[in-house]
Symmetry: C2
Subunit: 240 residues, 2 copies
DNA sequence: CTTTTCAGGTCAATGGCGTTGTCATAAGGT
DNA sequence: ACCTTATGACAACGCCATTGACCTGAAAAG
């Protein structure tokens, strides 16, 4: 591990680069997000980031231990954006629905970054706040701790997993992306009923449905099943 | 794109390498899978694959256009394996549960290939067979077509999304993977109750639960919610 | 206001990677 | 037995992340 990094709040001396930029963790993160948005995932290299910042690539190592450290910082920033201004309504199902959709939306706004970040556990400030909030909603709803933790896990992972899945579609190189979308019309819509009766019968529905994200329905199903479980827990004497 | 590749069925001349191996697409794929299984994601490089084969790295480009081509060839195999020997039991919930877990397991067995494959729509034979099967299960259970298609979409995307999420954890470079796992013990388990009461109250549960995949529960919740919807559809006169 | 110090930007080098242009040679059709 | 050419080998290119040594100017100390 690299020891050159001084924690951001303790920084005193800020010295411009040869090209005049004044660096900071914040500037580096936002430049990285811009680079990802403009030129795709493969554009995020230390060398190109250095060039975009107007600094020597190695200067980045004064702010982040390595590229992974930088990536985790980016991930935490996305989580922060998802939580921005959120407030509980008192209805736990509505709260979780909103949180789930917000996470998904925040990641969709930066598909290239989402693809890299959605899989990581950062342990940083904003992530911890999100974990705390979601657990609070579930425990406040009346789920006993083991159930609350299990449902927290399913809920969060499902949100992140769909965020990455849908981000990947956006982040795909243009030709591959077009090809994948066209498969449903070009290929599945023309399969004969003899060999693929179920696809043939539903082809039109498939073509329109597969254009959208499957997340909203998956989220709704998760929430309604969780709700049913809670109801069962609150009526302890088992039914016939 | 590299034009050196001769399609496998047209190959006539098979010439041993200096070290005596006789190459083929099949040998290269299985060696790559062995390399991945034995030494993890970062072991799959053209150079190391060449070394493992007993051949010059560049010889691989006589069989695959580039590394992506090779990885897709590996991935293609996974789709077939997920479906291998599957048979309907007549119980639609049990069938979907099995199919979901099988997809997840097949991808889990080769995480780095899964990461590339889970996001794509190939439209090829094995994929079409899977779509047909799942739609058949849902329509056979009595879901009307629009509902069948919507639930198909949520079900499949959930399976693929979790497959990619869990594969990504396995495919992470060893240090990053260890760091992510440790976060729950090192960091979350020690947050004070004053600032993070819900995390503090459930820390022990979190540490053990987050080690496992969230997919089995998420799948179960999706299936039970779908089941409830079907029951509601079959009892048309609305309840009190 | 001067002196000291050291954070932080720069430079150069290391060892890895995927990929390709070229060459040499042996396999296999004739 | 002869040719053709597919296929393996070699060497080189331009990327990549990372690091150790250095230099310099901003801030702290007096």
């Amino acid at each position: 591990m690299n020891e050159r990094v001084v924690p951001e709040p303790e920084r005193r001396r800020r010295r411009p680069t040869k090209q005049g930029t004044v660096l900071s963790a914040e500037v580096i993160i936002s430049t990285a997000l811009r680079l990802l948005a403009q030129h795709g995932a493969e554009a995020l290299t230390v060398r190109r980031l250095g060039a975009a910042l107007g600094a020597d690539p190695s200067a980045i190592y004064r702010y982040f231990h390595n590229t992974d450290d930088l990536l985790l910082a980016i991930a935490d920033e996305l989580i922060a954006r998802a939580q921005h201004d959120w407030r509980s309504t008192g209805d736990w199902v509505a709260d979780l629905r909103t949180i789930g959709l917000r996470i998904h939306a925040a990641y969709q706004a930066h598909p290239q970054a989402a693809l890299l970040a959605a899989y990581r556990t950062t342990g940083r400030q904003n992530e911890a706040r999100a974990v705390e909030t979601i657990l609070g909603v579930l425990r406040g709803a009346g789920f006993p701790d083991p159930e609350a933790v299990a449902i927290y896990h399913a809920f969060v992972d499902q949100g992140l997993a769909f965020a990455a899945l849908d981000a990947a579609a956006d982040a795909l190189p243009a030709p591959a992306r077009a090809a994948d979308l066209a498969v449903w019309q070009r290929h599945y819509a023309r399969l004969p009923a003899e060999t693929h009766p179920n696809i043939a019968a539903t082809a039109r529905l498939l073509v329109t449905d597969m254009r959208r994200s499957g997340y909203p329905l998956a989220l709704e199903l998760l929430l309604s099943a969780a709700s049913a479980r809670l109801a069962a827990l609150k009526a302890p004497p088992g039914p016939a």
